[in-house]
Amino acid sequence: MLRIELSHRFGDFALDVDITAGDGITMLFGPSGAGKSTIAKAVGGLLQTDQAYVQLGERVLADTSKLLWLKPHMRRIGYVFQEPRLFPHLSVRGNLLYGAGHDTDLARIADLLDIAPLLTRRPAGLSGGEAARVALGRALLSAPSLLILDEPLAALDARRKADILPYLERLRDHANVPMLYITHALDEVARLGSTLVLLQNGKVARSGSVKDVLSDPDAVPVLGPRMAGAMLEGHVVRHVDGLTELEVSGGLVWVPGTAGAVDTKIRLRVMAQDVIVGTQKPQGLSALNILPAKVVSLHRGDGPGALVVLQSGTDRLLARITQRSLDEMSLAPGDAVYGILKTVSVGPTDVFAGLD
């Protein structure tokens, strides 16, 4: 368990947060200047805030009311900074091993991050993305009891990001290292996060489990309309033709790839904008996944869009459609409808092994 209580002033900017995060990955999400890096620094011990209480598991790392302030190196917190901060005088290998006792995991992590060919190089010659990957590997290798990642993937291209995400997942699930993860990318939030903290202007605007916050229509204004979506839970039924059939509470869903062994619990993220609402069961469509559902509520926004909350089995689905469609179909709460998901819109980065 990670407990963070901070307050601090920087001129006009006032930070004042109280965050409790369970195991797994706590995502800090919020606009530029919201105070994400400031929180990260305070937790890492790098910035002494005016008031601070930080507790990690049993260990109290900071308690300004008791004048307690552990030095960074006593906190056992790995940190990936917004800039790579590689040691210029050490080779890539030297950087990676700096915080590691031994080099047992070096080869594996170097392979994973695709930096094995760089091991003998100096940081000055690395490209932006290469440097970011080395910084990530260095923190991973230091075997921390909390990992703080400040936009660790921002400098990476989509493919590399996709390569590294599963590793962070594995770390989350198996290494039992809680993480504080700062990002601007909601796919990372949905993919990795257990807890989501939405920050605005130094304050917590909303927080809770990723699943709850993402599928809460009220959070949409903070997340941005194109980012809204819901989370489904299910388990693997079978693998056919390179697809995986999952059973969710509302029915069966196909996802590409062979996601987990039979019976593995799985989380699916379904973006609101990827859900089509149909009043009749459609025929002859390339979209494979059609879930019967009931309209729970309708939320008209300021713009042309509207959010439809659907109940599908025990899960909630969000669908973002135009108000025009809403009117044409004259939807109302209680209506029986179909939620249509394009199979491929539930792509690999939106399927993940569950935590629970």
């Binding site: 030095k71 940190y79 005088h89 700096y98 000055a124 260095r138 923190a139 230091s142 921390p144 703080i148």
Partner: protein
Amino acid sequence: MINLPPEGWDALWLSLRVAGLSTLLSLPVALGVAVLLARGRFWGRGILNGLVHLPLVLPPVVTGYLLLIALGRTAPIGVFLEETFGLVLAFRWTGAVLAAAVMSFPLTVRAIWLALEAVEPGLEEAAATLGASPARVFATVTLPLIAPGVLAGAVIGFAKAMGEFGATITFVSNIPGETQTVPSAIYSFLQVPGGEATVWGLVALAVGVALGALLLAELLSRRVAARIAGRA
């Protein structure tokens, strides 16, 4: 070859020993003091700063005289050192080492200090988050990064030590083979009408050695800096 009387060669050899040893011995102290001055926030920092710079500000003869007053064989500290450690400084080559160290100290400290201020704090932070104690951070991050500055400090200290005259002759006098460094020898020969040839010979040697060290060190320091910048 340069034609020197034997005491000229003795003086050169002594100067090398004195400058070398004074550099070697004062370097760790200078490093420590530079760290204190660059990073420390403690009471008395200003006094330490002033003390370090005193030899730069005072005419060397005065520094030498102060050393004599403080550490001479009849001075309390001098007596204490002699009785406790058997260490005699005044009028010994050991004293010449001390005088050279004191005189070059501000230069060495400043070079290291400037280098310390140029170290990016972000890197030391990163090292700390990787679990490195302040001591380890210093040894494995700060020190390598200021290495060119430390080298520069050592070399300027060495050069200054080679050229030091006023404090040395005042504190340890000018005893051939024992405390007569190259500058003292030059002074002596300047007193002799017709001593110029010897003087210029000594000057040439001293300049050669010191500039050699300087250039060598700059080469080294460029190489270190290039390594750090990843150009090599």
